[in-house]
């Protein structure tokens, strides 16, 4: 379980003004919930908080714990918290299957074995025929599914989502949410979702918090 203890973070934007995203923020993952949403209007620092959990943003005070172990000083590659982005962040110079196999290769698996595993997963996503193609040849929805496959294949402890469906059109968004919820449930992965859309939070998460004035307030 994820636990945040007395997190402090001051954010300074490019114009020079700064404010506290988190001041003495403490939070614990609610028991028996698998998907948690973090809500708030744009610009309040939800993404920064997410990046702190991922290890990409330094924490200015306090600790991040996972299963009671202090991971505050752990680099991102050791935490196994996979990130998914609004712009999909697929690597343009690698094929679809190599994108998916990326994390496996970092874990030490050979090229052929990782590609085989990737293709297998892609088949369950219905994208087996696109395995060798360039990522730029895929539609938005297909790209986001590849990103999900890439994240799930390494069996992450936690999936961190940064408004992953904002770039898709409305119909696709609804469809993707449902598909996503099913896949994550069958994989049993915990998900932390950051979004500004309350209906999205309601559709995907079973508990939601609101980030405001440096603290988290439970919504439901």
């Amino acid at each position: 379980m994820l636990e945040l203890v007395n997190i402090n973070k001051r954010y300074t934007d490019t114009a020079g003004s700064s404010w506290d995203i988190a001041s003495n923020l403490s939070w614990q993952w609610p028991a028996s919930h698998n998907t948690v949403a973090l809500l708030g209007p744009s610009g309040t620092g939800k993404t920064t908080l997410l990046r702190m959990v991922a290890g990409l943003e330094p924490v200015q005070g306090g600790r991040v714990l996972w299963d009671r172990v202090d991971v505050t000083d752990w680099p991102p590659e050791q935490r196994r918290f996979a990130l998914m982005f609004q712009d999909f962040a697929l690597f343009p110079h690698l094929s679809v299957q190599d994108n998916v196999a990326f994390g496996l290769r970092e874990q030490g698996m050979g090229t052929a074995a990782s590609r085989a595993a990737a293709t297998e997963l892609l088949a369950s996503f219905g994208l087996a025929d696109k395995a060798r193609q360039a990522t730029t040849a895929l539609s938005g929805g297909e790209q986001q599914r590849v990103a999900l496959a890439r994240a799930l294949i390494i069996q992450p402890k936690l999936l961190l989502l940064d408004e992953p469906f904002s770039a898709l059109d409305a119909d696709l968004r609804v469809h993707m949410r449902e598909e996503f919820r099913q896949r994550v449930a069958s994989a049993g992965t915990k998900v932390l979702l950051v979004t500004h859309d309350e209906s999205e939070a309601k559709a995907m998460a079973s508990a939601a918090w609101h980030l405001q004035s440096g603290g988290l307030e439970r919504l439901w």
Binding site: R51, A54, G55, L56, P75, P76, E77, R79, R80, F81, A82, L83, F85, D87, A89, F91, P92, H93, F102, G103, E106, Q107, T136, A147, R150, A151, I154, L160
Partner: protein, 546 residues
């Protein structure tokens, strides 16, 4: 990149630049303030300048008529060349960016050719075309005029730098949102107003940064000014060379060099800041190219005019060299069979090759550890700011006992080539969306692995472009080779220059033939190293500006 690893990667190129560029300059200044001329055998001389004290003399340089006129001319010719390059280049770029015509791709690739031509060859080319005995120049000079013209130097500057502006402006005009333009038109803007209020301001940062670069090249250029400026139109760089090599007037030379350094420093700072604001990720919908309809007069005129400008300014001088070489006597062609020529070729290759390896490694390291910091990028451009004559001369004062080691020459070459590699690589790195690296890290890659598997493959085209430029520029390196020249180190450029200094038409013809040889070598190397357009398009990077 994490701070500690950035430091260890960046310290090598940073220290190299400091040692090779700053130390010689500091030694020179120290010599100017404290040194004595005794070891140069000139103690008995009445040295009016040195009595004044170094810093008062430095400030007083503007009061000296001759020095002031040289500095003013340096600035003037750079400003006029840049203004002309923009006036000619921006419309040309607009036509290229908006129209699709036969040969467009070839033209874009050919446009970089003048930039990589060695300065000596370029000067010869300009003389062959625009000079008093040139193909066209023959008719341009009034009979009885002395053949000295300020326009020769400006033509030379344009030859080199028009392509810089055009490339940058094409990139700026291409990377524009079609929807924005459509919105402007639907709000009542005529095509001209839309251009003036939407398209031009959007491309402006690219054009400004290219203009800074052009100003920098024009101010600091040595080879062109030496050959095309003559006595009457000598720029500050040429004066520095004369002061050092012919008169041993070290104090005056250092003072003048410091003023030039101040001016170039301002330009480089502006350029570094502008460069950062131009690195932007690709837009969703770009303005489409219009296919040229030859029936439409406006289109036809525009395209023809583009070709005319490019050919006249950029390609004609090269063709003129080929022409002069082709019509040279067979005795002149005999120079290709002389052992001296092949010694010069061998020297050119080994110095350039060795320096290319070093410059690539150091340049990539420099770019990797601070692509987004403007002051770090400025540090990487220090070699462009500093006069190569002063670097060479400072080295001479600093380490006279190593003047016969060719490693020293290679180190000087490397210094001058580092910015040519680090700039395109840094631009490409800055344009990489940060989310890609973050995704890689979250998928289990250490910073080094993420760099190796994600960043590096995406900047390889930029690295190769940087290498192509670096190699081409080192093949034609003139200032340092001239100054640190030892007979066993003669390169092709100094060899050509020697021929120019000897009287007689045979020597001149030999110079044409050798220039053609050097040009051929440069083009060959450039074509081999620079990535093709397809390789470039395989990845999405913003490495448009040179």
């Amino acid at each position: 990149m994490q701070l500690r690893s950035s430091f260890w990667v960046g310290v090598w190129p940073g220290a190299f630049i400091a040692v090779m560029a700053l130390l010689p300059m500091l030694k020179l200044m120290w010599f100017g303030v404290y040194g004595s001329y005794a070891s140069f055998g000139t103690e008995a001389l009445s040295d009016g300048g040195a009595q004044l004290g170094f810093w008062q003399g430095w400030l007083g340089l503007w009061a000296d008529d001759y020095m002031r006129s040289r500095m003013v001319w340096s600035i003037t010719q750079a400003a006029v060349s840049t203004a002309l390059a923009c006036l000619l280049g921006v419309p040309v770029a607009y036509v290229i960016a908006r129209h699709d015509f036969a040969g467009r791709d070839a033209l874009l690739r050919l446009m970089m050719l003048p930039f990589v031509v060695p300065t000596l060859v370029a000067a010869m080319g300009v003389l062959a075309w625009w000079g008093p005995n040139g193909v066209v120049g023959n008719h341009l000079y009034a009979p009885g005029s002395d053949g000295d013209s300020p326009w020769l130097l400006i033509a030379g500057n344009l030859f080199f730098n028009l392509c810089v502006i055009v490339r940058a402006a094409v990139y700026g005009f291409s990377a524009q949102s079609a929807t924005r333009l459509a919105a402007a038109r639907s709000l009542g803007a005529t095509p001209w107003r839309a251009f003036w209020r939407i398209e031009l301001p959007s491309a402006a940062p690219h054009i400004y940064s290219a203009a800074c670069l052009v100003l920098l090249y024009c101010l600091g250029g040595f080879g062109l000014a030496l050959l095309l400026g003559g006595q009457t139109y000598a720029t500050a760089e040429v004066v520095i060379y004369t002061l050092v090599a012919h008169e041993l007037e070290l104090v005056l030379a250092s003072q003048l060099a410091l003023w030039m350094l101040a001016m170039t420093g301002v330009l480089v700072a502006m350029y570094a800041k502008l460069q950062l604001s131009t690195a932007q990720p690709r837009l969703a919908q770009l303005v489409a190219l219009r296919v040229t309809r030859w029936s439409h007069v406006g289109d036809a005129v525009a395209v023809l005019w583009v070709w005319l400008v490019c050919v006249l300014v950029g390609f004609a001088p090269l063709l003129a060299i080929a022409l002069k070489a082709a019509t040279a006597s067979s005795e002149a062609w005999g120079v290709l069979w002389q052992a001296d020529t092949w010694q010069a070729v061998a020297n050119t290759l080994r110095f350039s090759g060795a320096a290319l390896v070093a410059a690539t490694v150091l340049g990539v390291m420099h770019a990797a550890c601070g692509a987004r910091l403007w002051w770090w990028r400025m540090w990487g451009m220090l070699p462009l700011m500093i006069s190569p004559i002063m670097v060479a001369f400072g080295l001479l004062l600093l380490v006279p006992q190593w003047l016969d080691q060719w490693g020293l020459l290679v180190a000087a070459y490397t210094l001058l080539a580092i910015p040519l590699v680090s700039q395109p690589v840094a631009t490409a790195l800055a344009a990489l969306p940060p989310s890609w690296l973050q995704a890689a890290r979250s998928l289990g890659a250490t910073p080094a692995r993420a760099w190796w598997r994600v960043s590096w493959p995406l900047v390889v085209p930029a690295v190769r472009r940087g290498m192509a430029f670096a190699m081409a520029s080192m093949l034609g390196e003139f200032a340092v080779s001239l100054f640190l020249n030892r007979p066993e180190w003669t390169t092709l450029t100094t060899y050509i220059y020697q021929h120019l200094g000897r009287p007689g038409s045979l020597q001149l013809e030999r110079a044409w033939v050798l220039s053609a040889l050097l040009l051929g070598l440069t083009v060959l190397v450039f074509v081999c190293i620079e990535p093709s357009k397809k390789a470039n398009n395989a990845v999405v990077t913003g490495a448009g500006s040179a």
